[in-house]
């Protein structure tokens, strides 16, 4: 193995974004539309660099949900990347598309608004996320530890696909480092 390749595979195994990328690939998730977040920067860059993925920004999160829903019905798996405040725009599309049509919508949500948030609006919008998920009885997990990430993400994706139910994987600042005031 070439040195560069080895370094790359070590990075993949030891960083949260590397594990997410590999888990997406292992589960044949090719289509990854997103609305960006600072915390997701490296993951987004690496997805763009990998020809396996079709990844692109959308203007709104619900647009991305529509795109992966259409793609799944036509035979291609997808996942949506977003930030907490983006999730807060999704109640209507979750309740009128993903849940009632039984679409395995896979969402990765970078969590802002907690553990050192500096913007009060972000802190408030974060508090709406889990009540919305719970009100629709949607599966969701908050991932805090690197050693649990692959298990939770891999199993949750497989469960979403086999049970035809959406899932939200919330990436805690404990996992990602989050966004802090001095950044």
């Amino acid at each position: 193995m070439a040195a560069a390749e080895q370094a790359s595979s070590q990075k993949t195994a030891t960083t949260w974004h590397g594990i997410v990328l590999q888990t997406l690939k292992r589960n044949e998730i090719k289509l990854v539309p997103y609305v960006p977040d600072r915390v997701l920067t490296t993951l987004i860059k690496d997805l763009h660099a990998d020809p396996y993925f079709t990844t692109f920004p959308t203007a709104r999160e619900e647009e991305a949900v529509g795109i992966v829903s259409g793609a799944w019905m036509a035979g291609t798996r997808g996942a949506v990347l977003m930030q907490t405040s983006g999730f807060a725009t999704l109640a209507n599309v979750l309740a009128s598309l993903a849940v009632p049509y039984q679409i395995p919508l896979i969402m990765f949500v970078s969590e802002r608004g907690t553990l050192g948030e500096f913007n009060y609006g972000q802190a408030l919008v974060c508090r709406t996320m889990r009540p919305v998920l719970d009100s629709l009885a949607m599966e969701h997990h908050t991932i805090t530890r690197l050693d649990e990430l692959e298990f939770i993400a891999d199993r949750s994706i497989k469960q979403a696909v086999t049970t035809q139910a959406p899932v939200a994987l919330i990436l805690s600042p404990l996992l990602t480092g989050g966004k802090t005031f001095d950044k």
């Binding site: 289509l31 959308t58 203007a59 619900e62 829903s69 259409g70 019905m73 036509a74 209507n92």
Partner: protein, 200 residues
């Protein structure tokens, strides 16, 4: 004036246009937007390649984009109302970026929210949706002058090198039928129509 083109187009009927579209279809996918748009698609004759939205206003084009990306060899039509598109204008930029040549979008423009009591949209009378689409980067965007022109533009879109948007001015008539509101069955049959799943 930017609205000259729109004013010169004939005011047509949604159901009649939808019937004309459906009559020429084989295995093409059709995504029908919320409300009257998919009611008329249903009334034009159900086919397993049709997907009917029962909510998620504004997502007909994004859903159609997903289908078009997943099955680049299949033609995908999306039917959307003007009020619905106003909710999700940003999707035109996304579609312009990905530029799937197998996507044909139709905007049924009557300037009103017919189904909620025919209130005018904020765009009514002054926003040219085709001009918005062109400015968003969808070069193959035009108003249909009349029914024959609509059919011509539909046929032309099948040979296009990028996505196509067709604006049609329509009257204020409600939808002709009512889609059976069974989301799981709609989705299951559509997946069967797309060839990715066998029916139970």
């Amino acid at each position: 004036m930017t609205s000259t083109q729109a004013r010169n187009t004939k005011v047509m009927n949604r159901f009649e246009l939808t019937q004309r579209l459906v009559a020429g279809l084989k295995d093409e996918a059709v995504i029908g937007g919320i409300g009257n748009t998919n009611f008329d698609l249903w009334a034009a004759g159900h086919r397993p390649e049709n997907f009917y939205m029962l909510g998620s206003m504004g997502l007909a084009f994004p859903i159609a984009l997903g289908v078009a990306l997943a099955q680049p060899k299949r033609r995908v039509f999306a039917l959307e109302g003007d009020g619905s598109l106003l909710m999700q204008l940003g999707c035109l930029s996304t579609i312009a970026t990905l530029a799937p040549k197998n996507l044909t979008m139709v905007v049924m423009d009557n300037g009103i929210y017919q189904i909620t009591g025919s209130q005018p949209t904020p765009a009514a009378g002054h926003t040219d949706i085709v001009a918005v689409a062109i400015a968003s980067g969808i070069a193959n965007s035009s108003w249909a002058a009349d029914e024959d022109d609509f059919e011509r533009l539909i046929a032309q879109s099948k040979q296009a090198s990028g996505p196509t948007l067709i604006g049609v001015r329509i009257d204020d008539k409600p939808g002709t039928g009512t889609t059976r509101r069974d989301p799981v069955q709609i989705r299951e049959r559509f997946m069967h129509g797309m060839g990715v799943r066998q029916l139970l």
